[in-house]
């Protein structure tokens, strides 16, 4: 159904756009090919609806069977690594350590963020990703302060950054079902 939807949307849009190209005749607003345009539009609309239906179907299956997304699985390890950071404050390799954390954990977490929507639902996934993004921005600030040699700023940025990542971790787990309710 998904493939058929994509095909219909693509073909329909192409037909509509091709039919929209002739110049209108004198005194007319639309080109004489407007019925063909209408046909293309209807095909594209059918394709879009099919795609939406297929997507809803896939989402229902995914919600029931999706394995734990990478973000949910990787965040605890990342937070343990972040909690060890204060041991490196005076370390000349702090920047390298931060870059390692970014490429090993943050970048892959962000890359796989879309998995969360099916797993947690839109509202909770959004809240989780915003908490993660806030933590990431403070992580970047910590990086900048470390690069500028401002250790005071590094130590002050660290607690809210860690708190933001922990909040994202809490939000990355689906709420437990309440007894007696679906």
């Amino acid at each position: 159904m998904q493939s058929l939807g994509v095909a219909l949307l693509t073909i329909g849009s192409m037909i509509a756009l091709i039919a929209a190209t002739p110049l209108p005749a004198a005194g007319a607003w639309l080109p004489a090919t407007w019925p063909l345009y209408g046909l293309g539009f209807m095909l594209a609309l059918s394709g879009l609806l099919l795609q939406r239906l297929a997507q809803r179907h896939v989402r229902l299956i995914e919600t029931a069977t999706t394995p734990t997304p990478l973000l949910t699985a990787l965040l605890p390890t990342f937070i343990i690594a972040v909690e060890a950071l204060p041991n490196h404050w005076a370390d000349p390799g702090l920047i390298a350590q931060l870059e390692h954390l970014h490429s090993e954990y943050l970048s892959p977490l962000v890359e796989q963020r879309h998995q969360l929507y099916g797993y947690l639902g839109h509202a909770q996934a959004t809240a989780c990703l915003l908490a993660l993004a806030y933590g990431e921005r403070l992580f970047n600030r910590l990086w900048s302060a470390a690069g500028d040699g401002c250790l005071d700023e590094v130590t002050l940025v660290y607690p809210p950054m860690l708190a933001a990542f922990k909040q994202a971790q809490l939000l990355a787990v689906p709420p437990a079902p309440v007894d007696g309710r679906e």
Binding site: S13, L17, R113, L156
Partner: protein, 589 residues
């Protein structure tokens, strides 16, 4: 030597004195912004295009704040660059529209027959509105959608280059040298071969493929690097170009729907200008409208979070986001500015002024979103297309009143330029850890200056003709190509020959594509139809190269090796391009 972090700022963090919004950043940003604005207004009138000032401001900031003052920080330079580009980009919006007003009302030169100050007020209103309308979308576009904003990434690489380690700095410099040398070689015309390599475009037809298939590849490394930074998410843009030029174009030629008298490049030019360009603008508009509706719940939630973040998420007691009341006040002031400007324009009734203000502001919001999305996805901002829609709609709505329509158009151009620039700067800020509130405040405080400076420069240049001939426009040393194009469109609308059917039919398809499950599909397809295929092709090759490297070498390689190299390519071409433009003007005068 360790930089000095002594407190020296109007709004910096009191607890550590880490330099962020400092007097040095503010003053340097102001001076750079005004100088860049003066230069780029002139360049735009001469060459028909402008350049973002962020890169130059970041490099100068690095030299001045860290090299001369020896106490600059990464975040301080980000603020300097935000302020400078905020002033500069406001001028870019003005220079596309205001000269057209001079050319249309007084083609022979001399004193103008229109009142300037309502246009100035509308431009200032646009500058305010461009910032306040886009702020609520920061979290959606940067933190949730994670749009790439290639220039924003490149500027972040410059700002961080001093502390990012030797390897990254080396890659940045290598990229810079390659692109600068390549651009210089292209500009020298040594490689020019008529029919094969002209104006930095490589003709791939080899006498076999027809011109209506647009078999041309732009050899711009900046364009290729933007694709390198975007990767898979930009691929739809390339596919859109393929569909436009390799499916739609040959189809309509084979169906005989093009004028039979046209052949070769004339036929390709007809297809681009009369068919794909207006249809592409329509698709862009429809898709953006659909995405606003589709993302409505997310945008509402972002607004709610903005309010929460502005009050609840205080980092060490300092504000992180712009407060909602300030956004609403800004919106109110801008609406009032537009209404007053329209009300004082001859021939505009109370009702028309109110309706045009409301529709104009709605369009500014939508167009700002389109341009911010397009810039975020591809680094290309379709400002001219959005301004053309504005002039067309307003001339129809205001019964052909050119002054009133131009007034809204100038507001739209300035606003959408500000929206795109603000988002690029906020992306840079995210990557270096700046507080969005300080960046937003900085841009809101200064963007109006860019409008005033650009008005002043354009006014002065108009009278440089001595009052007996135009100071710019076709046939002068400053041909103002963008303004001339806008004048043509305004005349076409007044004569009822504008392609409104294409705008409408394209927008209906755009709505469908906007609701498709692939994020940004409609905007990218519309943009691909609107742009020359040579650009889309080069960009697509960059996307494909990044995808190949990602598969072969992994994400860490792309983030740490490819990103600084691509940033260097962007900076190298941009700086040599600007240097050459200034050199050409100096040599000619």
């Amino acid at each position: 030597m360790m930089p000095d972090h002594s407190p020296a700022s109007p709004g910096s963090v009191p607890t550590t004195g880490y330099r962020e919004f400092t007097w040095a950043a503010l003053l340097l940003g102001l001076v750079q912004g005004i100088i860049l604005n003066l230069a780029f207004v002139y360049i735009s009138l001469k060459l028909g295009f402008s350049i973002s000032g962020s890169t130059i401001a970041a490099i100068t900031g690095y030299v001045f704040l860290r090299g001369i003052l020896r106490k600059g920080s990464v975040l301080e330079n980000n603020l300097n660059q935000t302020i400078a580009s905020g002033i500069n980009s406001a001028g870019t919006g003005v220079v596309f529209v205001l000269p057209a007003m001079f050319l249309l009302t007084q083609p022979q030169g001399g004193p103008t027959s229109f009142v300037l100050w309502p246009l100035l007020i509308a431009g200032i209103g646009g500058a305010i509105l461009g910032v306040v309308l886009i702020i609520p979308l920061r979290q959606q576009l940067i933190e949730l959608d994670r749009l790439r904003f290639p220039s924003g990434v490149a500027v972040a690489e410059i700002i961080r280059s001093g502390t990012a380690g030797f390897d990254k700095a080396k890659l940045l410099v290598i990229g810079f040298v390659i692109a600068a040398s390549w651009k210089a070689l292209m500009l020298s015309n040594w490689l020019e071969m008529p029919g094969l390599l002209e104006n930095e475009d490589l003709n791939l037809s080899f006498g076999l493929l027809p011109a209506y298939l647009a078999p041309v590849l732009s050899l711009s490394l900046l364009n290729f690097a933007a694709g390198l930074l975007t990767g898979r998410s930009g691929l739809v843009f390339f596919i859109g170009g393929v569909l436009a030029w390799w499916v739609i174009s040959p189809s309509i030629v084979l169906l005989g729907w093009t004028p039979p008298a046209l052949e070769s490049t004339e036929l390709a030019s007809f297809i681009a200008k009369q068919v794909l360009y207006p249809l592409g603008i329509g698709v862009l508009v429809g898709a953006a409208l659909a995405e606003v509706i589709r993302n409505g719940p997310a945008i509402r939630s972002a607004l709610g979070l903005l309010n929460h973040a502005a009050t609840g998420r205080l980092h060490r007691g300092l504000r992180e986001e712009m407060p909602t009341w300030l956004l609403i006040t800004g919106l109110g002031v801008a609406l009032l500015f537009f209404w007053l400007a329209l009300w004082f324009t001859p021939g505009v009734s109370f009702g028309s002024a109110t309706l045009a203000t409301l529709l104009g502001v709605l369009w500014m919001g939508l167009a700002g979103l389109i341009v911010a999305q397009a810039t975020g996805l591809t680094d290309i901002s379709p400002i001219s297309g959005m301004a053309l829609i504005a002039i067309t709609t307003m001339l129809l709505l205001l019964d052909g009143n050119l002054a009133a329509a131009m007034l809204i158009t100038i507001g739209v151009s300035v606003a959408i330029g500000q929206s795109a620039d603000m988002m690029q700067d906020l992306k840079t800020g995210f990557l270096v850890g700046s507080r969005p509130f300080l960046q937003q405040l900085g841009q809101l405080l200064v963007s109006w200056i860019g409008v005033v400076v650009a008005f002043w420069v354009i006014y002065l240049l108009w009278f440089s003709g001595g009052g007996t001939q135009p100071g710019f426009g076709p046939g002068t040393s400053l041909p103002a190509p963008q303004a001339a194009a806008l004048s043509q469109v305004a005349l076409a609308v007044q004569q009822h020959t504008a392609p409104t059917d294409k705008f409408f039919l394209g927008s209906v398809v755009g709505v469908l594509l906007g609701f498709a499950p692939i994020s940004g599909l409609g905007v990218l397809v519309g943009l691909a139809m609107y742009l020359p295929f040579a650009v889309t092709f080069g960009y697509g090759l960059g996307c494909l190269t990044q995808m190949w490297l990602l598969r072969r070498r992994g994400l860490a390689y792309v983030e740490h090796q490819l990103v600084p190299l691509a940033a260097g390519l962007i900076i190298g071409e941009a700086l040599i391009g600007m240097g050459h433009a200034i050199y050409s003007i100096v040599r000619a005068t």
